[in-house]
Symmetry: C2
Subunit: 450 residues, 2 copies
């Protein structure tokens, strides 16, 4: 992640367009906005994330000599353009929703204002970064809502779609309120708390569970959370109780157990009783195994005595909604608003702002999308974050900005109307108005010839 990102991690058409703009002498300022067209089924709101990665990408954008050589060799690109491409840096302005902001469909999440070549060439990667982190933060927050106050750990790296997805999912889940991740590299990269003890293979490699439990406890005495479902969950819990006094004499406390299969609610109740009877009332029960927010909600609703959840595949792949219908669209070129009319994909033109209105109780009431600078009440949500290619303060430290984003998400959750906080679809979606000046501009553009 901190390594140089290739500027050619992009679609070829960005480069063919850039060459055409170069040949045509088109170098005016363009305004592009990133937005999500409509929320996926099953989402009442989204949580913005990934801005930090976008800004880092923009700052280090540069096509290398080696990449230029590849383009030279692979046809269609000519020398004066390639030289210009080698000089290209991002010198534009960026406005964005701060990470951790709750937002809705049709609302601009990020705006780029830059010479058209710069604004265009970053499209593919910018989409990839904002899309994925926002997707996962918006998935993770559902487990946070389903399990308030519980330990929630990202277990998903192994089934995330590749290395970057595993890392960014850990970060996005943390922004949304997860307690941490199992992924060591995410801890190193982002300063997120990292959790983990043992897998079934560890238990199986030993002749019996008791020697595995004791071996682990002595090797890792500060972190004794024992996996008890490899063979027979309740019998393993009895074994934990049996060895606890011996470990206690060595100064080792059994902090908890983990359940990973079967009827988790029933096992948790049986195991809780065994631990309590055995004097391990303070030992916690952590569960994992194909969990998602629905299963977490169900387990807690049934009163299962579970203290924490490891959520993996469903989180890191956002399995019920593995993508957002998002886009990065030209809104203005050379001072003139632009609009795509394509059927079912028309966009609202111009530089826009989201204005949020609150109830008297301080809850989100409705948003209004309007042209920037319009006479409009409400709290504007997009803020400048980069000017002329330079980041604006804050965000000197990655860890600090991550903590702020996490706090922002937590605060905004408290302001969400109750109906939107449910895992179930709200009876009515949150109200997002397209303000009259914006509608008027769109109509005007539609009447122009092309």
């Amino acid at each position: 992640m901190s390594a140089k990102q290739s500027a050619l991690l992009t679609d070829l058409y960005q480069l063919t367009m850039l060459q055409a703009y170069f040949d045509e002498g088109m170098a005016e300022t363009a305004v592009f906005e990133f937005f999500v067209r409509a929320l996926p089924p099953g989402r009442n709101f989204l949580v913005a994330a990934g801005l930090e990665q976008v800004l880092a990408y923009l700052q280090q954008f540069r096509v290398t000599e080696k990449e230029l050589a590849w383009l030279r060799a692979h046809g269609g690109f000519r020398e004066p353009f390639l030289a210009a491409l080698g000089e290209l840096r991002f010198t534009g302005d960026v406005h964005a929703l701060p990470e951790g902001t709750i937002f809705f469909g049709n609302e601009p999440v990020l705006r780029i204002t830059a010479p058209i070549a710069q604004a265009q060439v970053v499209e593919s990667r910018l989409l990839s970064l904002l899309h994925f982190s926002t997707l996962i933060a918006s998935k993770a927050v559902r487990s946070v809502l389903a399990a308030p106050g519980k330990l929630l750990i990202d277990f998903g790296m192994r089934r995330a779609h590749g290395a970057e997805a595993g890392l960014l999912a850990a970060r996005a889940a943390y922004v949304a309120g997860f307690s941490g991740t199992a992924t060591v590299a995410a801890g190193i990269e982002y300063g997120i708390p990292v959790f983990g003890t043992m897998a079934h293979s560890y238990i199986e490699a030993h002749a019996d569970e008791i020697s595995a439990f004791k071996g682990f406890a002595r090797s890792c005495p500060q972190n004794v959370v024992l996996l008890i479902d490899t063979y027979d969950t309740e019998r393993a819990a009895e074994k934990v109780v049996r060895i606890a006094p011996e470990l206690a004499r060595e100064g080792i406390r059994v902090r908890g157990v983990r359940l990973d299969s079967g009827d988790l609610a029933a096992h948790a109740r049986a195991v809780r009783a065994i631990l309590d009877r055995g004097g391990l009332g303070e030992a916690t029960i952590f569960s994992s195994g194909n969990l998602d927010e629905w299963k977490v909600r169900e387990l807690l609703a049934s009163g299962a005595p579970i203290d924490g959840f490891g959520i993996g595949t469903a989180l890191d792949t956002s399995s019920d909604a593995p993508f957002l219908d998002c886009a990065y669209k030209l809104q203005e070129y050379a001072g003139v608003p632009r609009r795509k009319h394509s059927e079912g994909k028309a966009t609202w033109p111009g530089r826009k702002q989201v204005y949020r209105h609150f109830t008297e109780d301080g809850l989100f009431e409705r948003d209004s999308v309007n042209l920037e600078g319009a006479l409009q009440r409400g709290m504007p949500l997009l803020a400048p974050v980069m000017r002329a290619g330079r980041r604006l303060p804050p965000a000197e430290s990655v860890a600090e900005s991550l903590a702020i984003a996490r706090a922002r998400a937590a605060l905004q959750l408290t302001k969400l109307p109750p109906a939107l906080r449910s895992l179930d679809p709200a009876p009515a979606p949150y109200r997002v108005d397209i303000a009259p000046p914006l509608r008027a501009l769109a109509q005007k553009l539609d009447r122009m010839p092309h």
Copy 2:
């Protein structure tokens, strides 16, 4: 991708287990196997991919000094173990299904035989690599079956789950039979053909479509595929016809048009007629816009005159099945077969092989999973690919091995029973037998105490 991959892109529990093994003096040979438990709904078969990435990862596995320093500072790890971790390299054996092999549930796809620390610590990343590439190859092959002989291009990088997913999806789709990708970096990394021309923003940035079309054609005369749905598809097609003679006089041929929205079948028919009437009978029609294998099948079944398809989000996220129920499980330690009993997650123990049986016509008839070395007819599918940490030939060149994998997938598709070639679920799944010796071993292990 070619950069150093962090060995700590793994779950923390791998490291706590490794320290426990170290403290307990457990260093015998372990055998782990990667397999998919059951095919996702809607898949009749899977296509193995990602082996190349796994082997590269194993070869360069090394915990850096910087990473050791992080572990030292972040608690729970002690010096003699950390020194050993710094020395750890992968020196084991690997057996695997070659990339492009068609396989089914419960079949080992890859087997690691190595000292337990090595075999354990690579689990998370190995899973991540094999899982994702196999997931995407298995999704992509469905479009290949739906559109035989058509141009199929991966358009999905922007909504793939991060950078690595975008790159690996392009590669996996190519293995499965796609023609290429829009992602430039995938072309650089893997030598895959790269395609692309223009986006709507290019059209919109111009005062009118005709100047955009001409501008692009003159800038990129070898690659004139014009996007015609920005405002009005049929009117744009008429404009293409109108400017074609002028471009032809300049030696520029309009190779095709792209449709990206609306009723693609209806537009394609109307546009085909316009192009044909206008003397552009050789210009092709390429389509894109939220496509997947179902829509491709429907378009072709309706007789829509479409020559190629760009498939993006649905491909790169495998949107209808965004993960495989896969696992990497301990099968043997210190010469003794092992088995996890966890409810609903029990595994078949021991070192296994897949034996494929063929009909008289050469089609796949059934597979049998048995212990390696068992007396068993059929063609064994797992082959040795790495011995004592060194790769076995072939695969000197990335491009060469990719071409071979692609040819293998294409060949195996011709041997698939017709019912499995459908996008619809086959009336009966392909037959995979668990051979009697394997069942007997599992029963024997179940009777042992733990």
